[in-house]
Symmetry: C2
Subunit: 369 residues, 2 copies
Amino acid sequence: MSKTLDSTPQADGFRMPAEFEPHKGCWMLWPERGDTWRMGAKPAQAAFIKVAGAISAFEPVTVGASRGQWENARHALPESVRVVEISSNDAWMRDVGPTVVVDNRGTIRGVDWRFNAWGGLDGGLYFPWDRDSLVAAKVLEIEGADRYRAPLVMEGGSFHADGQGTLITTRECLLNRNRNPHLAQEQIEALLKAYLNVHKVVWLDQGVVMDETDGHVDNLCCFVKPGEVLLTWTDDPDDPQYEISRQALETLSAATDARGRPLVVHKIHQPDPMAISAAECEGLDAGETAKPRLAGDRLAASYVNFYIANGGIVMPLFDDAHDRTAMDLLVRLFPDRQVVGVQSREILLGGGNIHCITQQIPMGEYRSR
Amino acid sequence: MSKTLDSTPQADGFRMPAEFEPHKGCWMLWPERGDTWRMGAKPAQAAFIKVAGAISAFEPVTVGASRGQWENARHALPESVRVVEISSNDAWMRDVGPTVVVDNRGTIRGVDWRFNAWGGLDGGLYFPWDRDSLVAAKVLEIEGADRYRAPLVMEGGSFHADGQGTLITTRECLLNRNRNPHLAQEQIEALLKAYLNVHKVVWLDQGVVMDETDGHVDNLCCFVKPGEVLLTWTDDPDDPQYEISRQALETLSAATDARGRPLVVHKIHQPDPMAISAAECEGLDAGETAKPRLAGDRLAASYVNFYIANGGIVMPLFDDAHDRTAMDLLVRLFPDRQVVGVQSREILLGGGNIHCITQQIPMGEYRSR
């Protein structure tokens, strides 16, 4: 049902819509591995249930679960959520799922990037990633959408599009020697343009401090509308995040988008620096196949890691003093959406947050030319 | 997405349509177990591909494959066939899939029978059957159809409906002590009426000789239209099938259906008796968890084990002298459908045939009351 195509979205007149454009639905995966998620993944599962439940109030949600966890996931998740069997090596649908593109005749297709678990054997997070590699194709089969196989090692969390021809990404990730060492920046940019049909790529240097994805942009900043970017921030000049955010602000403020507009940048203050505790580490399975987590390691907490649904925002909360200000800001920036907060420390402990565990399927759109 | 309901189809105004009513599509599973399918299941996979390809010319086909075989199935099957990840213990979608019922307002729902691998530890065909038990629910999730959980150990191949209130089944299977020993015939009949919304059950005694399902009716006879039944037959009085078919003919000829019509019975001559060869047995994995197959064992070959698709019939052929007559008869009995034959010995070696490996999803129908 899902054909694999040899052409590119650009050649075929397909483009990547912004996350704030209308969705057909949202896909997630069910967490289970004991070396990523403490206590047999039970606290993470509880957080994923809250996220899936919150999103399903706005749009249809499908969760993929392994053979061994399907029955448990089906019983644990709300009945409004569809649960299908999809095996994976972990639960990061943003990074292993398809990037779905649309034309103006109501058709959707998916871009299936090459995946190497955020760096393969050179700093990647686990081995093997064989099941992750098939997730995008499996999602596209169920969606009935044809598939582009992009010749680029990359993850969905490493870029954000404004839907009008502009992409933001980071050099730390896309130019990392553990992704596409044989390709220069211009070649990577050409592939991004071909597979996402964008015309302007804004390159930032680095992602959030201690982000184990090698600096995914989706934890650092995102578009809130065309021409406006929201950036994680700290007022503390002694925090290593300060210089990263300051440089990103400088680059973004100096940039224009694909339509020639200067970018307006909003700052959202990060939660206070937080670390994984010894007790939390004790709940993890030991092993050599996944990156070890050590007590005291800083967690890459950021409010930017939220999901934009149809009419809603589902945002991470950290039981932190900045939660309220962050939520108030999102309410102001998204006046037409209901903002729902989910306490997400258990997702953060696994290495990401709400945006990382979700992937939107945009609505095919009909437009007169 | 798929809710489990406490009521029954009968109470809710849903009924099981006949297989010859319009379909939304067809589901199958991908064969892989080496103790059912010889030579690592490769010859069976080739036959399943032919069946899926033939049906997909008439209606959408989805094939469920395990994690380990998904990629192979996706590449081997035609692109027109959708391939999703669904684990199972073997490949008999007729028996482990849902029986889908319809109301007259366009809604479909599924009946999920209890499954014990055709008899559990008392003559069943393998252990365990834990994955099979979840297949119907997984299909219904993807179809977005709510689910009835029927309190009856039974398989989809053990009954045929005419869509107008009549059901045919066999005592050999439904009254077998290895299915529902705590229920009497009247109690089972009451459950069939409640879950399939039929008003008349025609009980035959026995299925085809050596049918390891304990006499599934779908290998013995089927409705070709309301009021007309097609029965596997032999003219050889020394064949043990002779007496079984003769008795079935007697019962069917004496019966009336739910609307009070006498049943017209058409005979279709079986292929000549055939057996599994020593060479074929040698290609099977050895083990104690599945019923052993021995060289010389008679195979339960029958032309009745075909699938009725939208505008088509996909029927088994055995490279037998009776193939041509059987096909001619189906062409005559189904004048509005194209009859396609598939050489199916490799499916028969696994213990069933085309009807056993398929399950239709009827079209929800809209009718004025």
